[in-house]
């Protein structure tokens, strides 16, 4: 006779949920579990090829579960909540890593860093900004991107532009010329909010400087300061002059990239991943498109480059920490892995020993721009804590929708950001 009591039912339910919690404990010693967001167009195939090289070199086996870029943000949270983080996972350097370091969810890698002499592998500005949190190292940069003004070469040539703008006045003149020719100077697709952030980043960095900006990102300055208002005023001027495409808030970043590729617009401020997208639709780097660095605005301000760093981290209670460390070290140290990976991603390698000749001409120039920059700053949503970033990202789209309300918007954001910093 089958008899199912309430107790056995509860027991069954508990067993099922316990299995979920205890999952990572079952990992075998020769196996390292990993979760990452390099899916589909973001290079799953290339990633697996690099992983295969690691497996061949070490005899360790990687057990992987790729998750789409946007879904990853929630998926990793859910896994953290269930105490079932993989040994290794990909994450965005900056405020997001700082956030999980605070929750004691990551394992420091200082010993491995020293042992494997990573100081000689990773460019110092990247190492300083991306790997250190509260004095300890937690992350190995896997690749990074740089945000610049990517433009359609033919459109600019047809408009008679020969020299790229270096100062703000040059840039305004360029926009004016293009507008008079009936071409929208700047494409922006801010439907998902983040593409607008690079404008705020660069305008603030070029007028108030990296130090003030770092203060603002950490809650030590306010959004109703004169510095922020000045940066926004420059942006407002561009919008008022009609230098941006109409309805930027209705478009994706790829829509904006398409507008530039088609020649409906001249340029777009975007990360180097746009090269991967454009190469994919048949554009030739250096021939069809190129980039210039965001122009200088004020003298005496340190020249900063903006971009995100994709990193690999090890969870605090990894089942196989030794294997995980080997993986991190190998993936950043092996120049062949780094070169192949950077190429597949349309990204820059974090490894200084990678031969620049492996890049196409545009990426070589991007690497040079970053190397010559006096500081490397993370883009807005990686530079400030997530609750604050939400406030700021919405501010950008609200401002683009109606720039005339800039003052009121900044006032409201100052209060909201302050509250968010206290969360």
């Amino acid at each position: 006779m089958y008899s199912i009591t309430r107790r056995s039912l509860m027991l069954a339910a508990l067993t099922v949920s316990a299995a979920g919690i205890a999952g990572p404990g079952f990992a075998q010693s020769g196996e390292v579990s990993i979760s990452h967001y390099f899916t589909g167009e973001l290079g799953l195939k290339a990633f697996n090829e690099q992983v295969a090289k690691f497996e061949q070199a070490t005899g360790l086996k990687m057990k992987e579960s790729p998750v789409g870029h946007e879904d990853f943000k929630t998926d990793i949270l859910v896994r953290a909540a269930g105490n079932s983080l993989p040994d290794v996972f990909s994450y965005w350097a900056g405020a997001r890593v700082a956030f999980i370091v605070k929750s004691d969810s990551l394992r420091p890698i200082d010993d491995m860093w020293a042992k494997d002499k990573l100081d000689g592998v990773i460019a110092k500005p990247i190492a300083d900004s991306a790997t250190l949190y509260d004095g300890k190292r937690f992350l190995v940069p896997f690749n990074y991107h740089y945000a610049g003004m990517f433009y359609n070469r033919k459109v600019l040539a047809d408009a008679g532009v020969t020299a790229m703008p270096e100062s703000w006045d040059d840039f305004l003149a360029l926009c004016k010329t293009l507008k008079e020719k009936g071409i929208a100077p700047v494409a922006l697709g801010s439907k998902n909010r983040w593409p607008a952030q690079f404008w705020f980043d660069y305008l603030l960095l070029r007028t108030a400087g990296p130090e003030y900006r770092a203060k603002l990102m950490a809650g030590g300055a306010s959004y109703d300061d004169a510095e922020v208002a000045a940066a926004m005023a420059l942006w407002k001027d561009l919008l008022d002059q009609g230098y941006f495409v109409e309805n930027a808030n209705a478009d994706d970043w790829t829509d904006a990239a398409d507008k530039v590729a088609r020649g409906d617009a001249a340029m777009t401020l975007m990360g180097t991943w746009i090269t991967g997208y454009w190469n994919g639709i048949g554009l030739v780097p250096g021939e069809d498109y190129d980039f210039f660095a965001f122009p200088r605005i004020k003298d005496g301000i340190a020249n900063a480059a903006v971009g995100p760093v994709d990193g690999l981290v090890i969870s605090a209670n990894a089942a196989n920490p030794e294997g995980a460390e080997k993986f991190l070290s190998f993936m950043v140290s092996d120049t062949e892995v780094q070169a192949k990976w950077a190429e597949a991603q349309g990204a820059l390698s974090a490894n200084v020993n990678v031969d620049p000749a492996t890049y196409n001409s545009v990426m070589q120039a991007a690497a040079k721009t970053v190397a010559e920059a006096e500081a490397f700053a993370f883009n807005y949503d990686l530079a400030t804590p997530p609750p604050v970033a939400e406030v700021g990202l919405s501010m950008f789209t609200r401002f683009i929708d109606d720039p005339s309300k800039a003052d009121a918007i900044l006032k409201a954001v100052a209060a909201d950001a302050k509250a968010a910093f206290n969360e």
């Binding site: 039912l9 943000k73 209705a250 997530p386 609750p387």
Partner: protein, 293 residues
């Protein structure tokens, strides 16, 4: 024998119940628990904050905004597909040429997933080459490039229209089924007695359709409570929170701001609202049952 049956009943119910327990009951109580903490989603260093999260709800302007939008969303999601579905059913419930084709066409959208419906309407609303602006431009003779989904005044309404387009077919089919149950001779008698068309509809057809209406409204309520996906696809709550609903707001607070404790508090409030609506619905259902057996 009775005992034997009961054992079997429990045995057969156990698998779905245990799944339900693990995937619904357990998370439900987890949210109750986390709603009184300041958990950030990572790690285990969080503390008890009492009712602070619930107090915050009253000062959170975005919560109020989301609550108003949810009210608009639910009211529209109930009224619009129900009225349109009823109108279509009344129109198609007679022998008209191509009637079956139209029934099929109007029903088709319900077979699509919300993601696909959302994408179709994103294209319709596209400012530069979308169907809507193209038609409006041709009609008015002016070049219209209004960004329906990217303007705070029209974002929510535009999504509601897309949603209604999908849901109307379902209401129509239920009403069509209900109409077949209304005896022809009754309507004939009315006609002979001199009742006009609108009188027949208002005083005879509509009251007799009450059971269908109960089903339609119930499905609309349930579907609108679930209606997170189409909004997420079409506007993501944007531009700048203007089309946020409570479900969207909960998602933002929990997964974008990592305020899992506050997000849980919002979900508890959402749960209570759903509970109240379902309670009301069951009360109404009992009334209808008493009248129509």
């Amino acid at each position: 024998m009775e005992r034997h049956n009961r054992t079997w009943r429990v045995a057969l119910l156990a698998p779905p119940l245990s799944v339900f327990a693990v995937f619904v009951i357990w998370p439900l109580f987890s949210s109750f628990y986390y709603s009184v903490t300041n958990w950030n989603g990572f790690g285990s260093n969080y503390s008890y904050v009492g009712l602070a999260n619930f107090a915050k709800i009253f000062t959170d302007a975005l919560f109020m905004n989301a609550a108003i939008n949810t009210t608009i969303w639910m009211a529209a999601a109930i009224v619009v597909p129900t009225l349109l579905g009823l109108a279509l059913a009344l129109l198609l419930d007679r022998r008209i040429p191509g009637g079956r084709v139209f029934k099929t066409i109007f029903y088709l959208p319900i077979c699509l997933s919300a993601v696909i419906v959302g994408q179709i309407w994103i294209w319709i609303y596209q400012p530069d080459w979308g169907l809507l602006n193209t038609v409006l431009s041709n009609l008015s003779g002016e070049r219209i490039r209004y960004a329906w989904l990217a303007k705070p005044d029209t974002a929510l309404g535009s999504v509601i229209l897309a949603w209604s387009w999908q849901q109307t077919g379902l209401s129509m089919v239920i009403y069509l089924a209900g109409l077949t149950a209304i005896p022809e001779d009754l309507l004939e008698v009315c006609e002979i007695e001199g009742a006009k068309l609108w009188q027949r509809i208002v005083y005879v057809v509509l009251p007799l359709l009450t059971p269908s209406t109960v089903v339609v409204v119930a499905l609309s309520v349930i579907n609108s409570l679930k209606g997170f996906d189409i909004l997420y696809i079409m506007t993501g709550g944007g531009p700048f929170n203007s089309s946020d609903t409570l479900a969207m707001h909960m998602y933002n607070e929990s997964f974008r701001k990592y305020l899992m404790g506050y997000g849980s508090a919002i979900s508890v409030v959402l749960f209570l609202i759903a509970l109240a609506i379902i309670g009301l619905y069951f009360r109404q259902l009992r009334k209808v049952d008493r009248i129509y057996g």
